[in-house]
């Protein structure tokens, strides 16, 4: 039986195994510098999968039309609606988000959507993640294209991190792709498999052929896993998070941010919003998880002084039909609210008109704001990126939002 040491001594590979290629060492420090100036600011996108019912999230509780359309599904003021502005109120489960709202660290955008909305979960999510029009098909995501455009020379994959086992379309660019990891330890372990470790230390010849591309991706993955594992040891969160998958993922995100990991974009999902039946109960539970999770996340970042540089964008692929259906739920709808959180918001509170329940389009909300206008604002004003290049056309930006 040869020991690992003997193996190394005798192996013709010894030199390449012992010395990590120089370009991989350098990237640990250079990763951030190569990102175009965003003044150290970062974006955290929270995806609510399944089509969250926006009308029972930010509730128009003084509007008769709401109760008329939802005689049993509507949530009444006396059940604890958390009053905001403009006759709107948060779902009773959203106490911690209400706290952030009161502190001026949360903003609500109503009726965000796009023309010719698609009511299929996967297609609509495709549209939101790629940043396309509803009749356009893109194979890259809007955050992936941000990485492409803002960091063409970044030698790392970790400039965009998704806390999950597999990577979403949103994080895939043509040249650069984000990195998906459930937690730095588990991810690091995957790259420690002896065989993969041996192969991943081989240098790509260039980055021209498909084979070089594979070796380059593997080397970056392995180096990123090392870097993330080492760096994230710096900070362990002392804040209590909800005991849920979402809570744990937000905690991982906060630990990565507070450790000083050089990522500009983070992506986290909370799923289960496709509540056609027993909707109130199910949605309340999910919104509680969302609110408690984001409350802890904000607290964690505030304590470390990182909340002012962080913008959180919470979206779902569509909202629900205004009227309730026969089984006390709602069917797939269109425009929906988007929540923005962060210490650096320049505008707080309810930023536009409440949903117009009088002027529906075949039972659905008309959108007031194209989601790509919001993307353009975040890309240009927050991340200081070229929104037009990333989104493919110029969308009107929201003035003075971030």
């Amino acid at each position: 039986m040869t020991t690992r040491r003997d193996f190394l001594k005798t192996s013709v590979l010894a030199s390449s195994l012992l010395f990590v290629p120089s370009f991989l060492h350098a990237l640990d420090r250079q990763g951030l510098k190569d990102l175009r100036d965003s003044r150290g600011r970062r974006l955290v996108v929270v995806q609510l999968g399944g089509g969250n019912d926006g009308l029972n999230t930010v509730i128009p509780y003084r509007n008769d039309l709401y109760y008329k359309a939802r005689p049993t599904l509507g949530i009444w003021e006396q059940s604890g609606i958390l009053a905001l502005d403009k006759d709107l109120g948060f779902n009773p489960a959203m106490t911690r988000l209400k706290g952030l709202y009161d502190q001026g660290q949360l903003a609500v955008l109503n009726s965000v959507g796009y023309p010719n909305p698609d009511r299929s979960h996967f297609r609509s999510m495709d549209i939101w993640q790629s940043g396309s029009a509803s009749d356009q098909y893109l194979s890259t995501g809007w955050l992936g294209r941000y990485l492409d455009s803002n960091c063409p020379s970044c030698p790392t994959a970790y400039n965009g991190l998704e806390v999950d086992d597999t990577l979403s379309l949103a994080m895939k660019g043509d040249l650069r792709k984000g990195l998906a990891l459930k937690n730095p330890g588990k991810f690091h372990q995957l790259t420690q498999n002896q065989f993969i470790a041996q192969v991943s230390r081989q240098q790509p010849a260039g980055a021209v052929s498909e084979l070089d591309y594979l070796y380059k991706t593997l080397a970056e993955t392995s180096s990123s896993a090392d870097y993330l594992y080492q760096t994230s040891k710096v900070y362990k969160s002392a804040v209590a998070y909800p005991n849920s998958e979402f809570g744990r993922n937000l905690k991982t995100t906060a630990e990565l941010i507070n450790s000083g990991v050089g990522s500009r974009v983070f992506y986290v999902s909370l799923t289960g919003f496709d509540t056609h039946v027993r909707q109130q109960e199910q949605q309340g539970k999910l919104l509680g998880d969302l609110s408690d999770g984001l409350g802890s996340f904000a607290e964690d970042l505030q304590k470390a002084g990182n909340f002012d540089d962080t913008l959180v964008l919470v979206f779902s692929e569509f909202g629900r039909r205004v009227s309730q259906n026969a089984s006390n739920g709602t069917d797939h709808g269109t425009a929906n609210n988007v929540l923005l959180l962060g210490g650096g918001l320049k505008q707080r509170g309810i930023l536009n008109n409440a949903p117009d329940l009088q002027n529906l389009l075949e039972g659905d909300l008309r959108h007031q704001l194209d989601f790509r206008s919001l993307y353009a604002t975040v890309l240009h004003d927050w991340l200081e990126a070229d929104d037009k290049a990333i989104l493919g056309s110029q969308f009107e930006r929201l003035k003075g939002l971030v």
Binding site: T2, F7, S11, V12, L13, S16, G49, G50, D118, R119, S120, H121, F122, R123, D126, D135, Y137, S139, D164, D165, T166, L167, S168, L169, K172, K177, G178, L179, A180, K182, L190, N193, F195, I196, V199, Q202, E210, L211, Y213, L214, T217, L218, E220, T221, E245, S269, T271, G272, T275, H276, V277, R278, R321, N325, S327, G329, D331, H332, E362, G363
Partner: protein
Amino acid sequence: MTTTQQQLQHLYWRAGFGPRPEDVAAGLTPRKALRQMLRDSEKVELLDSPQMRYTEPLAQFRPVAPAAGKPQSGMVTTPDQTAMSAGMEMPVAGPQKDRPQPPLLRRQDMSAQQRKMQNQSIQQAFYAMNTGWLTRMATSPAQLREKLTFFWHGHFACRVRRPDAALYLNNTIRRLALGKFSDLLLAVSKEPAMLQFLNNQQNRKQRPNENFAREVMELFTMGRGNYSETDVKEAARAFTGWGYNAQGEFVFRENQHDDGPKTFLGRTGNFTGEQVLAIILEQPRTAEFIATKLYRFFVNDTPNPAHIQVLAQAFFKSGYDISALLEQMFTAEWFYEPANVGTRIKSPVELLAGIKRTMGLQLVDDKPLIVFQKALGQTLFQPPNVAGWPGGRNWIDSSSLLYRLQLPSVLLKNAEFNVALKQDENDIAPNLTKAERTFQQQVKTTVRLAPVQALLARTPAPQQAAALSRFVLQAPIRPENLVVIQQAADKAPAEGRLRTMVTSLLSLPEYQLM
């Protein structure tokens, strides 16, 4: 210069799902092997099994049957537009003869338990179709037909909720995959699944829906930039009235058809949908677009305009004969040039089917095959959208590459596979818990290594790793990797030596290419 063995393997990888050891041992010339493949693919065997036949589990419940064909407000704003919508005209299309099925309840009228039952039944049928097809890719003698069916599956990408409609479309494609593109295009355009997916069921004289007309031109035939917005509008008018009935059959609803004059691609007439497709096929641009796509799939992701021009012209002249085009492609000298060998990133399905085929691999339970497809980013019958899977370098990101490299150990050495899948089957079962989405277990398999062993029988032990690499890999192995593999083999006990070598070779980045 590639050797004959490499050329032969190249043909088997590109025109099929990889070579078996016995294919290499037979030592045919590529030309003879191609002729054999064409012969073996002549017969059409439809994909079908009792498990693939979707049965409506809610037949016992109250049926809702509104008048078929009537425009309803629900048609446009129905909750799942891409889902085969319940309670309305419902295509029940399967290869089996017993097509008519009882109407469904409308989804919004179902109880939680009814939904769950329906979801399970849909999922089971899709699982059987998926794994059944993957196994067929690995085992069918009709390699060329299955490979082309797979190609068209990504070209005419369609994702619907009804498994029977999806299966019917798949078999229509299989039937016509090697014939005339014109026949295939017309048949696919009239498939209920496609009409539903691209909203032509809602395309009516009074209120045209342009989705189908647009995608036919943009993605299926000419490509962007070769038609105007007016052409889309006019074509949409020609397709008004194309729909399907409750039995899942194509129907032309004459009273919903706009039979007035249209001007389409510079010609004017009272065109029907069939005529619009014929005009599209009269454009040499269509032959070029299809030839380019076939070239990128079968030859090289980077198109060579000189090669494609020749192919496209012959394709056009032949009246869109697909088999003739393929034969021309697979016999061209440039097809076997090193620039085109071992330079294409395998799609997840090609990777899986390839391992199954070359190693005679079988799973005790096929379900993990679905998990692998999802973790790697390509699930049969679930394309991301009508544009299909983007392919190429798009398959590779940090996590998908790591899963790919782990896969051989999972399949050949019982290593554990551990992944929490995304909610990518939203339209079927959107509210799965994390536990339900998590796969963490060993995978039980059997492999047939004897033919591989036979291939190496006359090679002395020290050269076996190199010889094996020439069979397993299409890209030349890096010299340092050959050393790694040799060392791993030397450490393994004699009876596990071959398996260890195979597993390591399959785990290399080189194996991701074909």
